[in-house]
């Protein structure tokens, strides 16, 4: 239904202004029809600024935004938000405190001068969709946080936008409710076919929800890909570091050939790993190994390590295993696999899941 094409989007704010949003630099992004895409990054990475430029609240300094092939934002010329026909759910919900649930939700239909017969049908459908039927006459201060949240969703959905922008909509909910809303959101997007552009700093949320994830850092796009790609094949160490737990270990390329290579790290770690292009024998690199891709064994063979710390997390056991005269690795194992501090273990690494990055000079 709706695609968004972002080219060279740039925005800087005057320094010193305390409430100035984060900058964005040269962002290219192609958002296809009917997708759930997430802008992911730490606070200050420019994800909210990007979202607000898509909505039309902020004018870019450079670059363009096209929606369905039509130019909507460029420096000096911006289609105002009220002419874009998008929907947006705000972090603080922005449910109007002086209007009832019904008045909040019906607002967009009134603006569109929808005939009253259709208003009733749409209102009934939408309120049922978000489980608010029966609460129409309540004021927002008589609702729980989760209910206010659903009012915000209903208000955006009732006008059937082609694009729905969501600015950390789940961040103010408690953990359990957040989990539940996550499932509902995903279902909602599939059912409606609306293009969702979702902003979050929570990588688990991004992985669970998205068709595509755009990882932003310091205003720049680091990687744009499916959750599997972004998690399993991070484009650089920033992405690897941000997407969950990771061991980043300095190493040296012993031999490189045809996209594969052997790297050596301190502690006698020797790994056969896929190498990105442009890395040659003798280069200094960093290898990223996720804790769940390391197995601990009692048997001899491979690199040897000593258990230095242990944390029981319920569904997993997390160990710190120090390689003899080498780095300490974080390892996650099945909770039934138990070692005690001081145990000598053998380390086995699934090298197909490792990523190698060139050292930053």
């Amino acid at each position: 239904m709706a695609s968004i094409t972002i080219k060279g989007l740039t925005k800087t704010f005057a320094p010193g202004d305390d409430d100035a949003p984060a900058a964005v630099a040269g962002l290219d992004l192609d958002i296809k029809d009917n997708q759930f895409i997430t802008l992911l990054g730490p606070s200050g990475c420019g994800k909210t600024t990007t979202l607000r430029m898509i909505a039309g609240y902020i004018m870019p300094d450079a670059g363009t935004i096209h929606v369905n092939g039509q130019l909507v934002s460029s420096p000096g010329s911006v289609t105002p938000p009220d002419q874009r026909g998008m929907g947006m759910v705000f972090q603080n919900y922005a449910v109007w405190p002086h209007k009832t649930v019904y008045e909040n939700v019906v607002f967009g239909l009134k603006i569109r001068k929808t005939p009253s017969a259709q208003v009733k049908k749409k209102m009934d459908e939408t309120l049922a969709l978000v489980n608010l039927t029966g609460l129409e006459a309540r004021y927002p201060n008589e609702l729980s946080g989760g209910q206010q949240q659903r009012v915000a969703f209903a208000r955006s959905l009732v006008v059937e936008p082609e694009i729905l922008l969501l600015d950390e909509p789940l961040s103010n909910l408690d953990a359990k409710l957040r989990e539940q809303m996550r499932v509902e959101l995903k279902r909602l997007q599939r059912r409606t076919g609306i293009t969702f552009v979702y902003v979050t700093h929570d990588q688990a949320e991004a992985l669970a929800l998205s068709d595509q994830i755009a990882v932003l850092h310091a205003g720049r796009l680091q990687q744009y890909g499916t959750p599997q790609e972004v998690y399993g094949r991070p484009a650089n160490r920033v992405v690897a570091d941000f997407m969950g737990l990771v061991n980043l270990i300095p190493a040296k390329v012993a031999m490189a050939r045809d996209g594969m290579g052997t790297i050596e790290a301190a502690g006698g770690l020797r790994l056969e790993v896929p190498l990105p292009s442009g890395i040659n024998t003798g280069d200094g690199v960093e290898v990223s190994i996720r804790p769940e891709n390391i197995r601990l064994g009692a048997a001899a063979g491979g690199a040897r390590a000593t258990i230095s710390d242990r944390t029981f997390l319920g569904n997993i056991n997390e160990y710190y295993a120090s390689l003899d005269s080498g780095p300490t690795l974080r390892v996650q194992t099945h909770p039934a696999q138990v070692f005690t501090i001081g145990d000598k273990v053998a380390i086995e690494i699934d090298t197909t899941q490792c990523s190698v990055f060139r050292n930053n000079p």
């Binding site: 909505a55 609240y57 929606v67 369905n68 039509q70 130019l71 909507v72 934002s73 460029s74 000096g76 010329s77 911006v78 289609t79 105002p80 938000p81 009220d82 002419q83 874009r84 026909g85 998008m86 929907g87 947006m88 705000f90 972090q91 603080n92 919900y93 922005a94 449910v95 109007w96 405190p97 002086h98 607002f107 967009g108 239909l109 603006i111 569109r112 929808t114 005939p115 259709q118 049908k121 749409k122 459908e125 939408t126 049922a128 969709l129 004021y139 927002p140 201060n141 915000a152 208000r155 955006s156 959905l157 006008v159 059937e160 936008p161 082609e162 922008l165 059912r191 409606t192």
Partner: protein, 576 residues
């Protein structure tokens, strides 16, 4: 269930650069501010530089050396200093009693402060003249002729009298700022000092006092600025005692032939004094921020005064009697007496009210003019304030801070200075505004626009911008967003702001006295003129009517503005 497109959703429109309604509204507000404040001030400057032979500093030289002018300046500064000092003493004492002791009758203190602030100072002055004028003042007559205690008489037509009458109006500035500061100092600060071994006294001096000192100083400076700007009491009390101050001297310069150049130069001198004082005041207030950080959870410690609390209570009663009971009782008594004097109660009558309301042909016109002007001025000031506040907080227009400052300038302009500036400006314009209701309206709006801006600013800060943005993204135009979201949410704040402008406008004398004509006469001017002409009893009746109108206005605005919306909504929660 699936959501299907059954209507026509808004389609993405092309980008537009053409002007939208909001741009015209914002431009209009900026233009208003320029016409109301900036241009008159500039013509004041130009006027002051215009000598007999072109541009010169001649007027300033005369103001700086002429005996009349130097003594006016000196008297104003003396008045301001003494008033500031006594406002400080009374204000801090009452604030401390309310917030830190177990003194009885705290509500009475609150009422005394509010009523003192709301009472028109020239009415208080007139009431004190009825009591303490050297020859005919009721109490003086009582002391001298009946009790034979001539040494207990008091001549109100003196600097002491002027300070007394002025302090009754200005101590609430110190009281309000000091009590709110004291209330917001969290008890834990003081407890932390005490757990380290500091005595209560030591805690008060080393912890509490430094925390609230900026607020107290700031209140004192406000008292100073307001004290020296009051034309009414300085004319009513000062002139008979031959104490000429800046406002009364400027007023005298408009006697035929009017000395516009000198009046402008004096006005500028006046502005410099108030602006310096206000600058210091803001600087002090800015340092207050750490007090409010403690937030609402503050539980100040209450000092147990023991028997001494009756002494403090006595002081409260004294202030209440002098500031409220004496002036109001006097005005009421005079208004019902046939002839004011020791035996006034023997001839009680309604004749004064009958005369004022139905026979004196000025009254009805004055009441009508004042009500109309106050209503329109308050409405315009609040609307302009809302637009300017909105521009400041919700847009990134370059120069928006400048606009905000421009809207605060009038805080530093005494009423009489506003009048001089408007006369200078509009006499030079082809539009004949002088002597019309319009020029009074310009004066009132210009002078009180800072109150409108502040009220709007405070309300807008309570509303998260996303509440407006969510209406916008749903397709609401700027006007719709304002009507449906912003205005309903800031309405209680705007009503409060409206009242804040309405009350001083309906008792405005300092600017009106230079700008009125017989057709545009206002209530305050009518009272002053009647007083000057010597109608003792009818003046009191008119004064009481004046107070009734102010009271009714406050009551109605409270009814209309009601806290209904604020209490019904979780605005606080959403404003994070």
């Amino acid at each position: 269930m699936s959501v299907q497109v059954i209507g026509t959703p808004l389609r993405v429109a092309r980008p537009r650069t053409r002007l939208r309604l909001e741009h015209f509204v914002m431009g209009g507000a900026i233009l208003c501010l320029i016409v109301l404040v900036v241009l008159p001030l500039m013509s004041l400057l130009i006027g002051s530089l215009r000598g007999e032979q072109g541009i010169s500093l001649q007027n300033f030289a005369e103001v700086a050396t002429g005996r009349l002018y130097v003594s006016a300046l000196k008297n104003s500064l003396i008045l301001g200093a003494w008033t500031g000092l006594f406002s400080l003493i009374i204000g801090v004492a009452l604030a401390w009693a309310v917030s830190r002791t177990d003194v009885p009758g705290k509500a009475l203190i609150q009422i005394t402060a509010s009523l003192s602030y709301l009472s028109p100072p020239f009415l208080t002055a007139i009431a004190f003249v009825y009591l303490f004028s050297p020859n005919a003042g009721l109490i003086n007559v009582l002391m001298r002729d009946v009790l034979g205690l001539p040494w207990l008489t008091f001549n109100v037509f003196s600097m002491t009298g002027l300070v007394l009458v002025t302090v009754l109006h200005t101590f609430p500035f110190v009281y309000l700022l000091a009590s709110s500061a004291l209330l917001s100092v969290d008890a834990s600060y003081e407890e932390a000092a005490q757990i380290l071994g500091a005595s209560k006294l030591r805690t008060a001096f080393t912890v509490t006092a430094p925390l609230v000192a900026p607020a107290i100083l700031s209140g004192t400076l406000l008292a100073f600025v307001n004290a020296i700007a009051l034309f009414g009491s300085q004319a009513i009390i000062g002139l008979p005692g031959r104490i000429v101050t800046l406002p009364t001297r400027i007023y005298a310069l408009f006697d035929y032939p009017p000395e516009y150049g000198l009046a402008s130069a004096m006005s500028l001198l006046f502005v410099v004094i108030t602006v310096v004082a206000l600058y210091l005041q803001r600087a002090f207030l800015a340092r207050r921020s750490y007090v409010t950080l403690a937030g609402k959870g503050a539980r100040p410690q209450l000092m147990t005064l023991g028997p001494a609390r009756w002494l403090v209570f006595g002081l409260v009663i004294l202030v209440f009697i002098v500031a409220i009971v004496a002036p109001y009782a006097t005005l009421i008594a005079v208004s019902f007496s046939k002839s004011w004097g020791l035996e006034f109660w023997k001839g009680l009558t309604l004749a004064n009210y009958k005369f004022i309301l139905f026979e004196y042909n000025v009254t009805q016109r004055a009441i009508l003019n004042s009500l109309m002007l106050a209503t329109i001025a308050a409405t315009i000031a609040v609307i302009l304030g809302a637009i300017i506040g909105w521009i400041d907080l919700r847009t990134r227009i370059p120069g928006r801070k400048l606009l905000d400052y421009a809207a605060l300038i009038p805080l530093g302009l005494p009423g009489i200075v506003v009048a001089v500036a408007l006369i200078q400006f509009w006499l030079a314009m082809p539009l004949a505004l002088y002597g019309t209701l319009a020029i009074l309206l310009l004066a009132y709006v210009g002078r009180y626009i800072p109150l409108g801006v502040r009220a709007a600013n405070a309300s807008l800060r309570q509303i998260d911008p996303s509440l407006e943005e969510s209406a916008q993204i749903l397709g609401a135009s700027w006007l719709t967003t304002m009507r449906e979201v912003t205005l309903p949410l800031i309405r209680p704040g705007l009503f409060a702001g409206w009242l804040l402008v309405f009350v001083p406008v309906i008792q405005e004398l300092s600017a009106s006295i230079l700008l009125f004509s017989s057709s545009s006469i206002t209530l305050a001017v009518a009272v002053y003129n009647l007083y000057e002409t010597g109608y003792i009893e009818p003046v009191a009746a008119l004064a009481i009517i004046n107070m009734l109108i102010i009271g009714a206005a406050i009551w109605i605005a409270n009814k209309l503005g009601g806290g209904k919306i604020a209490s019904r909504t979780g605005m606080q929660r959403l404003a994070t």
